[in-house]
Protein backbone atom coordinates (compact mmCIF):
# COMPACT_ATOMS: atom_id res chain seq x y z
CA UNK A 1 0.00 0.00 0.00
CA UNK A 2 1.09 3.58 -0.63
CA UNK A 3 1.73 5.57 2.54
CA UNK A 4 0.36 9.09 2.47
CA UNK A 5 -0.97 11.03 5.39
CA UNK A 6 -3.57 13.07 3.50
CA UNK A 7 -6.27 12.70 0.87
CA UNK A 8 -4.94 12.46 -2.69
CA UNK A 9 -6.92 13.75 -5.69
CA UNK A 10 -7.07 11.07 -8.39
CA UNK A 11 -9.58 12.27 -11.03
CA UNK A 12 -12.24 14.82 -11.86
CA UNK A 13 -15.69 13.52 -10.96
CA UNK A 14 -16.95 14.16 -14.50
CA UNK A 15 -14.11 12.13 -16.05
CA UNK A 16 -15.53 8.85 -14.77
CA UNK A 17 -18.95 7.76 -16.03
CA UNK A 18 -21.04 5.22 -14.08
CA UNK A 19 -20.00 1.67 -14.94
CA UNK A 20 -16.45 2.59 -16.01
CA UNK A 21 -12.93 2.38 -14.64
CA UNK A 22 -9.61 4.17 -15.15
CA UNK A 23 -6.07 3.51 -14.04
CA UNK A 24 -3.87 6.06 -12.34
CA UNK A 25 -0.68 6.25 -10.26
CA UNK A 26 0.03 7.68 -6.83
CA UNK A 27 3.71 7.80 -5.99
CA UNK A 28 4.29 5.26 -8.75
CA UNK A 29 1.81 2.75 -7.27
CA UNK A 30 -0.95 1.65 -9.63
CA UNK A 31 -4.54 2.42 -8.62
CA UNK A 32 -7.85 1.74 -10.30
CA UNK A 33 -10.55 4.36 -9.93
CA UNK A 34 -13.96 2.98 -10.83
CA UNK A 35 -17.58 4.00 -10.55
CA UNK A 36 -20.31 1.42 -10.05
CA UNK A 37 -23.55 1.68 -11.98
CA UNK A 38 -25.25 3.32 -9.01
CA UNK A 39 -22.67 6.12 -9.21
CA UNK A 40 -20.42 5.45 -6.21
CA UNK A 41 -16.67 5.91 -6.80
CA UNK A 42 -14.09 3.36 -5.60
CA UNK A 43 -10.30 3.44 -5.47
CA UNK A 44 -8.32 0.20 -5.20
CA UNK A 45 -4.93 -1.21 -5.84
CA UNK A 46 -4.92 -1.88 -9.56
CA UNK A 47 -4.00 -5.54 -9.44
CA UNK A 48 -6.09 -8.69 -9.70
CA UNK A 49 -4.81 -11.14 -7.03
CA UNK A 50 -5.13 -13.96 -9.56
CA UNK A 51 -2.56 -13.10 -12.25
CA UNK A 52 -1.64 -9.51 -11.45
CA UNK A 53 -3.59 -8.02 -14.37
CA UNK A 54 -4.53 -4.35 -13.96
CA UNK A 55 -8.17 -4.17 -12.83
CA UNK A 56 -8.49 -0.90 -14.76
CA UNK A 57 -8.33 -2.97 -17.98
CA UNK A 58 -11.40 -4.82 -16.75
CA UNK A 59 -15.08 -4.05 -16.85
CA UNK A 60 -17.77 -2.92 -14.42
CA UNK A 61 -21.03 -4.83 -14.11
CA UNK A 62 -23.46 -3.34 -11.59
CA UNK A 63 -21.60 -3.02 -8.30
CA UNK A 64 -18.90 -5.52 -9.31
CA UNK A 65 -15.69 -4.98 -11.25
CA UNK A 66 -14.31 -7.91 -13.24
CA UNK A 67 -10.79 -8.66 -14.38
CA UNK A 68 -10.24 -8.70 -18.13
CA UNK A 69 -8.14 -11.88 -18.02
CA UNK A 70 -10.42 -14.48 -16.43
CA UNK A 71 -13.49 -12.54 -15.34
CA UNK A 72 -12.93 -12.80 -11.59
CA UNK A 73 -15.55 -10.49 -10.08
CA UNK A 74 -15.05 -8.32 -7.00
CA UNK A 75 -17.68 -6.51 -4.93
CA UNK A 76 -17.33 -2.92 -3.72
CA UNK A 77 -15.35 -4.07 -0.67
CA UNK A 78 -12.71 -5.63 -2.93
CA UNK A 79 -13.87 -9.14 -2.03
CA UNK A 80 -13.82 -11.69 -4.85
CA UNK A 81 -17.37 -13.03 -5.22
CA UNK A 82 -17.31 -15.06 -8.42
CA UNK A 83 -14.79 -17.03 -10.46
CA UNK A 84 -16.28 -17.98 -13.86
CA UNK A 85 -14.09 -21.09 -14.25
CA UNK A 86 -15.46 -22.40 -10.93
CA UNK A 87 -19.06 -21.15 -10.91
CA UNK A 88 -20.16 -23.18 -7.90
CA UNK A 89 -17.11 -22.32 -5.77
CA UNK A 90 -17.69 -20.48 -2.51
CA UNK A 91 -14.81 -18.03 -3.08
CA UNK A 92 -12.33 -17.90 -0.16
CA UNK A 93 -12.39 -14.62 1.81
CA UNK A 94 -8.62 -14.34 1.35
CA UNK A 95 -9.08 -13.43 -2.33
CA UNK A 96 -9.43 -9.70 -1.87
CA UNK A 97 -8.08 -6.57 -3.59
CA UNK A 98 -6.61 -3.95 -1.20
CA UNK A 99 -8.94 -0.95 -1.19
CA UNK A 100 -8.60 2.70 -0.25
CA UNK A 101 -11.26 4.91 1.22
CA UNK A 102 -12.66 7.00 -1.64
CA UNK A 103 -14.79 10.13 -1.56
CA UNK A 104 -15.99 12.88 -3.88
CA UNK A 105 -15.92 16.51 -2.95
CA UNK A 106 -15.61 19.78 -4.84
CA UNK A 107 -15.81 18.06 -8.24
CA UNK A 108 -12.88 15.73 -7.55
CA UNK A 109 -12.53 12.04 -6.63
CA UNK A 110 -10.17 11.62 -3.67
CA UNK A 111 -8.45 8.58 -2.21
CA UNK A 112 -7.24 8.16 1.37
CA UNK A 113 -4.09 6.07 1.15
CA UNK A 114 -3.94 5.45 4.93
CA UNK A 115 -6.34 5.19 7.84
CA UNK A 116 -4.81 8.40 9.17
CA UNK A 117 -5.82 10.20 5.98
CA UNK A 118 -9.30 8.66 5.94
CA UNK A 119 -10.06 10.10 9.38
CA UNK A 120 -9.23 13.65 8.29
CA UNK A 121 -11.66 15.87 6.40
CA UNK A 122 -11.08 16.58 2.72
CA UNK A 123 -9.81 20.18 2.82
CA UNK A 124 -12.17 21.51 0.19
CA UNK A 125 -15.43 23.44 0.42
CA UNK A 126 -18.69 22.22 -1.03
CA UNK A 127 -20.46 24.48 -3.51
CA UNK A 128 -21.06 24.89 -7.21
CA UNK A 129 -18.10 23.87 -9.36
CA UNK A 130 -17.35 23.78 -13.08
CA UNK A 131 -14.80 21.12 -14.05
CA UNK A 132 -11.88 22.18 -16.27
CA UNK A 133 -9.51 19.27 -16.81
CA UNK A 134 -6.84 16.99 -15.44
CA UNK A 135 -3.41 17.61 -16.90
CA UNK A 136 -0.35 15.39 -16.60
CA UNK A 137 3.02 17.14 -16.48
CA UNK A 138 6.41 15.45 -16.85
CA UNK A 139 7.90 17.16 -13.82
CA UNK A 140 8.19 16.11 -10.15
CA UNK A 141 5.52 17.10 -7.64
CA UNK A 142 7.69 19.65 -5.78
CA UNK A 143 8.78 21.37 -9.00
CA UNK A 144 5.21 21.64 -10.28
CA UNK A 145 3.98 22.98 -6.96
CA UNK A 146 6.77 25.58 -6.80
CA UNK A 147 5.95 26.76 -10.32
CA UNK A 148 2.21 26.71 -9.71
CA UNK A 149 2.24 29.07 -6.77
CA UNK A 150 4.25 31.55 -8.86
CA UNK A 151 2.28 31.06 -12.04
CA UNK A 152 0.69 33.81 -14.07
CA UNK A 153 -2.92 32.64 -14.37
CA UNK A 154 -4.90 35.24 -16.32
CA UNK A 155 -8.43 35.79 -15.02
CA UNK A 156 -11.51 34.99 -17.07
CA UNK A 157 -13.51 37.69 -15.31
CA UNK A 158 -11.87 40.73 -13.67
CA UNK A 159 -8.20 41.60 -13.92
CA UNK A 160 -6.45 41.48 -10.53
CA UNK A 161 -3.27 39.43 -10.24
CA UNK A 162 -3.54 35.85 -8.98
CA UNK A 163 -3.28 35.04 -5.28
CA UNK A 164 -2.51 31.56 -4.02
CA UNK A 165 -3.68 29.88 -0.86
CA UNK A 166 -2.24 26.44 -0.11
CA UNK A 167 -4.92 24.73 1.96
CA UNK A 168 -3.15 21.36 2.20
CA UNK A 169 -0.07 19.74 0.68
CA UNK A 170 -0.58 20.14 -3.07
CA UNK A 171 -4.10 21.59 -2.75
CA UNK A 172 -4.16 25.21 -3.90
CA UNK A 173 -6.95 27.77 -4.15
CA UNK A 174 -6.18 30.40 -6.80
CA UNK A 175 -8.02 33.71 -6.77
CA UNK A 176 -7.48 35.54 -10.06
CA UNK A 177 -9.63 38.52 -11.02
CA UNK A 178 -13.14 37.56 -9.90
CA UNK A 179 -12.44 33.85 -10.43
CA UNK A 180 -11.67 31.13 -7.93
CA UNK A 181 -9.95 27.91 -8.97
CA UNK A 182 -9.21 24.76 -7.07
CA UNK A 183 -6.02 23.11 -8.30
CA UNK A 184 -5.39 19.73 -6.67
CA UNK A 185 -2.02 18.12 -7.37
CA UNK A 186 -1.53 14.35 -7.51
CA UNK A 187 1.99 12.92 -7.04
CA UNK A 188 1.75 10.55 -10.03
CA UNK A 189 5.24 9.05 -10.04
CA UNK A 190 8.68 10.47 -9.17
CA UNK A 191 8.91 12.35 -12.47
CA UNK A 192 5.29 13.11 -13.30
CA UNK A 193 2.53 15.11 -11.61
CA UNK A 194 -1.18 15.37 -12.32
CA UNK A 195 -3.15 18.58 -11.76
CA UNK A 196 -6.92 18.48 -11.38
CA UNK A 197 -8.53 21.87 -12.07
CA UNK A 198 -12.03 22.99 -11.19
CA UNK A 199 -13.58 26.44 -11.19
CA UNK A 200 -15.46 27.29 -8.02
CA UNK A 201 -18.33 29.13 -9.67
CA UNK A 202 -21.43 28.68 -11.77
CA UNK A 203 -21.87 26.92 -15.11
CA UNK A 204 -23.77 30.00 -16.24
CA UNK A 205 -20.63 32.13 -15.85
CA UNK A 206 -17.94 29.63 -16.78
CA UNK A 207 -19.53 26.94 -18.99
CA UNK A 208 -17.78 26.73 -22.38
CA UNK A 209 -15.60 29.85 -22.74
CA UNK A 210 -14.46 29.98 -19.09
CA UNK A 211 -13.58 26.30 -19.11
CA UNK A 212 -11.59 26.74 -22.35
CA UNK A 213 -9.80 29.76 -20.90
CA UNK A 214 -8.43 27.84 -17.92
CA UNK A 215 -7.81 24.62 -19.90
CA UNK A 216 -5.64 26.62 -22.29
CA UNK A 217 -3.74 28.10 -19.36
CA UNK A 218 -3.13 24.57 -18.00
CA UNK A 219 -1.82 23.39 -21.38
CA UNK A 220 0.51 26.41 -21.59
CA UNK A 221 1.69 25.78 -18.02
CA UNK A 222 2.51 22.16 -18.94
CA UNK A 223 4.44 23.29 -22.02
CA UNK A 224 6.42 25.89 -20.06
CA UNK A 225 7.41 23.44 -17.37
CA UNK A 226 8.35 20.65 -19.73
CA UNK A 227 10.41 22.85 -22.04
CA UNK A 228 12.06 24.96 -19.32
CA UNK A 229 15.86 24.82 -19.29
CA UNK A 230 16.01 27.13 -16.27
CA UNK A 231 14.52 26.07 -12.91
CA UNK A 232 10.79 25.87 -13.43
CA UNK A 233 9.82 28.26 -10.64
CA UNK A 234 11.49 31.10 -12.55
CA UNK A 235 9.74 30.63 -15.87
CA UNK A 236 6.20 29.71 -14.94
Amino acid sequence: MIEHKSWIPVALSTALEPGTSAGTLVGGGELVVWRDTRGAAHVWEDRCPHRGMRMSFGFVRGDHIACLYHGWQYDTAGQCQYIPAHPTLDVPKTIKVPTYTAAEKGGIIWAAPSSEAAEAAIPVEDGEVVPVRSIYIDRPFAAVLAALTNANIPAFTGDTAPRFETIADGIVIVSTGADRLLIACQPFNPTRTALHLVIQGSAETYGGAGQKHFARWAETFRLLLETASTPVAEVA
Partner: protein, 210 residues
Protein backbone atom coordinates in the same frame (compact mmCIF):
# COMPACT_ATOMS: atom_id res chain seq x y z
CA UNK B 1 -18.77 -12.85 -54.89
CA UNK B 2 -19.31 -9.29 -53.60
CA UNK B 3 -17.88 -6.43 -55.68
CA UNK B 4 -15.62 -5.26 -52.83
CA UNK B 5 -12.49 -7.17 -51.87
CA UNK B 6 -10.20 -6.23 -48.98
CA UNK B 7 -6.61 -7.46 -48.81
CA UNK B 8 -6.18 -7.65 -45.07
CA UNK B 9 -3.93 -8.66 -42.18
CA UNK B 10 -5.88 -9.09 -38.95
CA UNK B 11 -3.24 -7.58 -36.63
CA UNK B 12 -2.61 -4.58 -38.92
CA UNK B 13 -4.36 -1.54 -37.49
CA UNK B 14 -4.71 0.13 -40.88
CA UNK B 15 -6.50 -2.96 -42.17
CA UNK B 16 -8.71 -2.71 -39.05
CA UNK B 17 -9.59 0.88 -39.98
CA UNK B 18 -10.97 -0.33 -43.30
CA UNK B 19 -12.70 -3.35 -41.73
CA UNK B 20 -14.42 -0.97 -39.30
CA UNK B 21 -15.54 1.34 -42.10
CA UNK B 22 -16.91 -1.59 -44.12
CA UNK B 23 -18.80 -2.85 -41.05
CA UNK B 24 -20.17 0.55 -40.09
CA UNK B 25 -21.38 1.13 -43.65
CA UNK B 26 -22.77 -2.45 -43.65
CA UNK B 27 -20.95 -3.26 -46.90
CA UNK B 28 -20.71 -6.85 -48.03
CA UNK B 29 -17.19 -7.72 -49.02
CA UNK B 30 -14.70 -10.51 -49.46
CA UNK B 31 -11.53 -10.55 -47.37
CA UNK B 32 -8.24 -12.00 -48.57
CA UNK B 33 -5.76 -12.71 -45.78
CA UNK B 34 -2.21 -11.48 -46.48
CA UNK B 35 0.69 -12.72 -44.37
CA UNK B 36 2.18 -9.36 -43.34
CA UNK B 37 4.14 -10.83 -40.40
CA UNK B 38 6.40 -12.63 -40.72
CA UNK B 39 5.85 -13.21 -44.46
CA UNK B 40 5.80 -9.58 -45.73
CA UNK B 41 3.57 -10.97 -48.45
CA UNK B 42 2.40 -7.47 -49.40
CA UNK B 43 5.89 -6.78 -50.77
CA UNK B 44 6.08 -9.94 -52.91
CA UNK B 45 5.53 -9.87 -56.68
CA UNK B 46 1.97 -11.24 -56.60
CA UNK B 47 0.80 -8.43 -54.29
CA UNK B 48 2.99 -5.77 -55.95
CA UNK B 49 1.09 -6.51 -59.15
CA UNK B 50 -2.05 -5.37 -57.30
CA UNK B 51 -0.50 -2.53 -55.26
CA UNK B 52 2.90 -1.32 -56.39
CA UNK B 53 3.38 0.52 -53.04
CA UNK B 54 3.70 -2.79 -51.22
CA UNK B 55 1.41 -1.67 -48.38
CA UNK B 56 -1.72 -2.95 -46.70
CA UNK B 57 -4.66 -2.59 -46.77
CA UNK B 58 -5.67 -2.72 -50.43
CA UNK B 59 -9.27 -2.35 -51.53
CA UNK B 60 -10.66 -3.52 -54.85
CA UNK B 61 -14.13 -2.36 -55.83
CA UNK B 62 -15.05 -3.40 -59.37
CA UNK B 63 -12.49 -1.76 -61.68
CA UNK B 64 -11.02 0.39 -58.90
CA UNK B 65 -7.96 -0.69 -56.92
CA UNK B 66 -6.96 1.58 -54.03
CA UNK B 67 -4.06 1.62 -51.57
CA UNK B 68 -3.48 4.12 -48.77
CA UNK B 69 -5.72 3.86 -45.72
CA UNK B 70 -6.98 7.44 -45.80
CA UNK B 71 -7.75 7.19 -49.51
CA UNK B 72 -9.70 3.96 -49.01
CA UNK B 73 -11.69 5.40 -46.09
CA UNK B 74 -12.48 8.57 -48.05
CA UNK B 75 -13.52 6.58 -51.10
CA UNK B 76 -15.83 4.28 -49.14
CA UNK B 77 -17.48 7.25 -47.39
CA UNK B 78 -17.92 9.10 -50.68
CA UNK B 79 -19.27 6.04 -52.50
CA UNK B 80 -21.42 4.37 -49.88
CA UNK B 81 -22.51 6.92 -47.26
CA UNK B 82 -25.35 8.85 -48.93
CA UNK B 83 -26.06 10.69 -45.65
CA UNK B 84 -22.57 12.26 -45.92
CA UNK B 85 -21.87 11.99 -42.19
CA UNK B 86 -18.52 10.15 -42.37
CA UNK B 87 -17.07 12.66 -44.85
CA UNK B 88 -19.01 15.94 -44.55
CA UNK B 89 -20.00 17.85 -47.67
CA UNK B 90 -19.56 21.35 -46.24
CA UNK B 91 -16.12 22.80 -46.94
CA UNK B 92 -15.16 23.45 -43.29
CA UNK B 93 -16.29 20.04 -42.09
CA UNK B 94 -14.56 18.35 -45.02
CA UNK B 95 -11.36 20.28 -44.30
CA UNK B 96 -11.40 19.42 -40.61
CA UNK B 97 -11.90 15.72 -41.31
CA UNK B 98 -9.07 15.81 -43.86
CA UNK B 99 -6.92 17.49 -41.20
CA UNK B 100 -7.38 14.54 -38.84
CA UNK B 101 -6.85 12.04 -41.66
CA UNK B 102 -3.53 13.79 -42.30
CA UNK B 103 -2.73 13.68 -38.56
CA UNK B 104 -3.48 9.97 -38.58
CA UNK B 105 -1.09 9.40 -41.48
CA UNK B 106 1.69 11.56 -40.01
CA UNK B 107 1.78 12.12 -36.23
CA UNK B 108 -0.03 8.87 -35.43
CA UNK B 109 2.39 6.97 -37.67
CA UNK B 110 4.67 7.00 -34.60
CA UNK B 111 2.04 5.11 -32.61
CA UNK B 112 1.62 2.61 -35.45
CA UNK B 113 5.39 2.08 -35.67
CA UNK B 114 5.73 1.81 -31.88
CA UNK B 115 3.11 -0.92 -31.86
CA UNK B 116 4.68 -2.87 -34.73
CA UNK B 117 8.01 -2.68 -32.96
CA UNK B 118 6.51 -3.97 -29.71
CA UNK B 119 4.68 -6.82 -31.44
CA UNK B 120 6.99 -7.76 -34.31
CA UNK B 121 10.36 -6.23 -33.42
CA UNK B 122 10.42 -3.95 -36.48
CA UNK B 123 13.24 -1.36 -36.56
CA UNK B 124 13.05 2.09 -34.96
CA UNK B 125 13.99 4.04 -31.84
CA UNK B 126 11.61 2.66 -29.22
CA UNK B 127 11.91 5.60 -26.81
CA UNK B 128 11.48 8.22 -29.53
CA UNK B 129 8.50 6.41 -31.10
CA UNK B 130 6.68 6.12 -27.79
CA UNK B 131 7.38 9.76 -26.88
CA UNK B 132 6.05 10.89 -30.25
CA UNK B 133 2.99 8.66 -29.90
CA UNK B 134 2.28 10.10 -26.46
CA UNK B 135 2.61 13.61 -27.87
CA UNK B 136 0.04 12.76 -30.55
CA UNK B 137 -2.38 11.39 -27.93
CA UNK B 138 -1.97 14.59 -25.90
CA UNK B 139 -2.95 16.65 -28.94
CA UNK B 140 -6.03 14.47 -29.34
CA UNK B 141 -6.88 14.65 -25.61
CA UNK B 142 -6.50 18.45 -25.56
CA UNK B 143 -8.78 18.66 -28.61
CA UNK B 144 -11.49 16.46 -27.09
CA UNK B 145 -11.23 18.32 -23.76
CA UNK B 146 -12.12 21.52 -25.62
CA UNK B 147 -14.82 19.73 -27.63
CA UNK B 148 -16.49 18.50 -24.45
CA UNK B 149 -16.70 22.11 -23.20
CA UNK B 150 -18.87 22.78 -26.27
CA UNK B 151 -21.02 19.77 -25.50
CA UNK B 152 -19.61 17.90 -28.52
CA UNK B 153 -18.81 14.17 -28.39
CA UNK B 154 -16.85 13.82 -31.64
CA UNK B 155 -13.65 15.19 -33.16
CA UNK B 156 -15.52 17.11 -35.91
CA UNK B 157 -19.16 18.22 -36.08
CA UNK B 158 -22.04 16.62 -34.21
CA UNK B 159 -21.75 13.08 -35.60
CA UNK B 160 -18.96 10.53 -35.81
CA UNK B 161 -16.83 11.07 -38.91
CA UNK B 162 -13.74 9.58 -40.56
CA UNK B 163 -11.76 11.67 -38.07
CA UNK B 164 -13.03 9.55 -35.17
CA UNK B 165 -12.73 6.32 -37.13
CA UNK B 166 -9.13 6.86 -38.19
CA UNK B 167 -7.99 8.07 -34.74
CA UNK B 168 -9.72 5.37 -32.71
CA UNK B 169 -7.50 2.32 -33.41
CA UNK B 170 -4.13 3.82 -32.44
CA UNK B 171 -5.39 5.01 -29.07
CA UNK B 172 -7.43 1.88 -28.38
CA UNK B 173 -4.33 -0.24 -29.14
CA UNK B 174 -1.84 1.91 -27.20
CA UNK B 175 -1.39 -0.63 -24.41
CA UNK B 176 0.22 -2.91 -27.01
CA UNK B 177 3.24 -0.59 -26.85
CA UNK B 178 3.12 0.39 -23.21
CA UNK B 179 1.12 3.63 -23.23
CA UNK B 180 -1.77 3.42 -20.79
CA UNK B 181 -5.00 5.38 -20.98
CA UNK B 182 -4.45 6.86 -17.50
CA UNK B 183 -3.40 10.33 -18.71
CA UNK B 184 -6.07 10.84 -21.35
CA UNK B 185 -9.44 11.32 -19.63
CA UNK B 186 -11.17 13.03 -22.56
CA UNK B 187 -10.08 10.23 -24.92
CA UNK B 188 -11.39 7.61 -22.48
CA UNK B 189 -14.86 9.20 -22.65
CA UNK B 190 -14.61 9.44 -26.43
CA UNK B 191 -13.58 5.82 -27.14
CA UNK B 192 -16.46 4.65 -24.97
CA UNK B 193 -18.87 6.58 -27.20
CA UNK B 194 -17.18 5.28 -30.33
CA UNK B 195 -17.40 1.67 -29.16
CA UNK B 196 -21.18 2.04 -28.84
CA UNK B 197 -21.65 2.90 -32.55
CA UNK B 198 -23.64 0.45 -34.70
CA UNK B 199 -21.34 -1.97 -36.50
CA UNK B 200 -18.45 -1.53 -34.09
CA UNK B 201 -16.31 -4.56 -33.42
CA UNK B 202 -12.85 -5.12 -31.97
CA UNK B 203 -9.52 -6.50 -33.15
CA UNK B 204 -6.90 -8.36 -31.10
CA UNK B 205 -5.48 -5.89 -28.55
CA UNK B 206 -8.79 -4.08 -28.02
CA UNK B 207 -10.83 -5.70 -25.23
CA UNK B 208 -14.30 -6.94 -26.15
CA UNK B 209 -15.55 -5.94 -22.74
CA UNK B 210 -15.66 -2.37 -21.57
Amino acid sequence: MPAITLYNYDLDENSFRVRLMLAMLKLEHATIAIDMFPGQEQTRPAMLAINSQGTLPVLVDGDLTLAGTEAILSYLAKAYDPARTWLPEDAAGFGRVQGWLHFSATMLENAKQARLQALFDTPGDETALRAAARKAFRIMDDHMTARHFDGADWFVGDKPSLADLTLFPSFALSRDFGIDHDEFPALRLWIRKFRALPGFFTMPGIPDYH
